[in-house]
């Protein structure tokens, strides 16, 4: 019975769950990567000599981290669609309901949440890079963006990776909240299957196992990345 439900054949929900799993990966990876941009910018801004930049970074991280994730998603989902509808009404005179792309909203909202947490991790990591490493680069006349991209960030990365792994896992799980927008990721797929078959436990258990598989697999990838970013740090002399 259970196996038939999970099969890929007729009456089985296997392909729905598989597509949901792929959607989850797509949303999570895009959101996390997208979130690193405001995250890194906020981290740099929080160290800026300009007070308004520091304030901007503080507002972003405080605001986003202080509101429940689900609420952030709702605000973005309904906020963006009303905004677009208003713009369309004003410019084209069309007053009907326009639904925004659930994937885009998902990536935008989860990405900004992810970025707010990444910002804290990256800020701490940047602070851990010894001042002399940057001074040596400045003393050669390297431009600021070269110093940031080739010296500061690679060195901060090795400190940031364990923390970023944490943010990534949270981001991956936060994608389940996008199910409220109707995007068919794992959570939404399991939900549908559970409703139709009246076998909620089976499908939610399968969903849980899929999330576990993803978090476990990605943790291994992060472990490898940590080894790579720590190259050159071996204490022993050859």
């Amino acid at each position: 019975m259970t196996l038939t439900l999970l099969s890929f054949g007729p009456g089985g929900w296997g392909s729905t769950l598989l597509i949901g799993a792929l959607m989850t990966i797509a949303v999570a990876v895009t959101s996390f990567a997208f979130g690193l941009v405001p995250g890194a910018l906020a981290a740099m801004a929080s160290r800026s000599p300009h007070a308004w930049l520091r304030a901007l970074a503080l507002v972003y991280t405080t605001l986003v981290r202080g509101i429940p994730e689900l609420l952030v998603i709702y605000l973005f989902f309904f906020g963006t669609s009303s905004m677009i509808m208003a713009i369309v009404r004003l410019s084209f005179g069309y007053g009907g309901y326009i639904e925004v792309n659930a994937f885009a909203i998902g990536v935008l909202s989860v990405g900004l949440i992810s970025g707010a947490y990444s910002a804290e991790v990256i800020r701490g990591a940047i602070a851990s890079v010894p001042k002399g490493q940057v001074e040596a680069a400045m003393a050669l006349g390297l431009k600021r963006w070269v110093i940031v991209s080739r010296i500061l960030f690679p060195q901060a990365l090795r400190v940031a990776l364990p923390g970023l792994n944490n943010v990534w896992q949270t981001t991956l799980k936060d994608t389940s909240l996008i199910s409220v927008t109707g995007l068919a990721e794992i959570m939404r797929s399991a939900n549908m299957a559970a409703g139709v078959t009246h076998e909620p436990f089976t499908f939610y258990l399968v969903a849980a196992l899929i999330y576990l598989l993803f978090t476990w697999g990605s943790a291994r990838l992060f472990a490898r990345a940590e080894i790579f970013s720590g190259r050159g740090l071996k204490e022993a002399r050859p």
């Binding site: 050669l140 060195q155 970013s229």
Partner: protein, 293 residues
């Protein structure tokens, strides 16, 4: 005083494997001081002042480095030596005074042309090398990559040209074969020689040394000083903050003694190490545990 121990290894310079050829005949003591007038002025600091909070670290210091000069800046901790050096490539921005590099006035305050000021500072830094007390090699990059970074991203050399240049300077400091080592795999002396090669790879007009041997174990000091002697012999313009009195005496063409953020004495080492030195300098020298010549 503060410099105990750091000077002990000065006499070890001649022991151990010799990575570079030394031409002692050409060292600074034999330079003709009268020739200074015909030589190009590289760095001209005039009346520099620098405050750290309520503390005045530099109180009107002037210093001129002409091509080929080897200037040793000495003085006790807190006398402003390192700050003076760091003002010369604007790692610290002086609060008053003026700085000229090869005749060009260097701006301290960018407003309203911050972009232009930054460009000028970057150009100044690309032509004035710096060697730090703590080496400051980038530990996520190999030795060769450390040397290639400046030539590639400041001078615009291709990866291949930069690598060729890096190898040449690595050979010059006696470290051929360490191209692919990471800094953490090298001894302190080797790391500092790589740092010197990194500065040299930019073909700078002058190199600033900020206590280059103070972080080294005594037995490693000699190999670094040997490389610096070689550079001096080749006519490299150098400004060196150091506690190595024997080195300063032998290699420097001019000795600048800083005290309380002012130049308390300056002149040729043989004059200052001789009887003609002011009392304060003699006190400093005798307190430093270095035998007078």
């Amino acid at each position: 005083m503060v410099m105990d121990g750091c000077c002990l290894a000065a006499d070890d310079e001649t022991t151990g494997p010799d990575p570079v050829r030394i031409d002692r005949k050409a060292t600074a003591g034999d330079r003709d001081p009268g020739a200074a007038a015909d030589r190009e002025t590289i760095i001209e600091a005039d009346n520099l002042e620098k405050w750290f909070g309520a503390h005045k670290v530099l109180d009107g210091v002037s210093l001129e480095a002409n091509r080929g000069d080897v200037i040793a800046i000495v003085g006790s901790s807190g006398s402003g030596k390192s700050t003076l050096l760091r003002c010369m490539n604007l790692l610290e921005t002086p609060d008053a005074g003026s700085l000229r590099f090869r005749g060009e006035q260097i701006a301290f305050d960018g407003a309203p042309h911050e972009r232009a000021r930054r460009k000028q500072v970057e150009r100044l830094r690309s032509q004035v090398g710096m060697v730090f007390q703590a080496f400051n090699l980038w530990d996520h990059r190999t030795v060769l990559e450390n040397l290639m970074e400046g030539p590639r991203f400041v001078l615009g050399l291709s990866r291949r040209e930069a690598a060729d240049r890096a190898r040449a300077y690595l050979a010059k400091v006696g470290l051929s074969g360490k191209e692919n080592a990471y800094p953490a795999h090298l001894s302190g002396g080797q790391q500092q020689r790589v740092a010197i090669a990194r500065a040299l790879a930019m073909a700078p007009h002058a190199i600033l040394f900020d206590e280059p041997t103070s972080a080294l174990d005594p037995e490693l000091v000699g190999e670094v000083l040997r490389v610096m002697r070689q550079l001096a012999a080749e006519g490299t313009t150098m400004v060196i903050v150091t506690h190595e009195m024997a080195f300063a005496r032998d290699v420097a063409s001019r000795l600048v003694f800083l005290q309380g953020g002012r130049v308390a004495a300056q002149g040729a080492p043989r004059d200052l190490f001789g009887g003609g030195a002011p009392q304060r300098l003699r006190d400093f020298l005798s307190g430093g545990g270095e035998r007078a010549p």
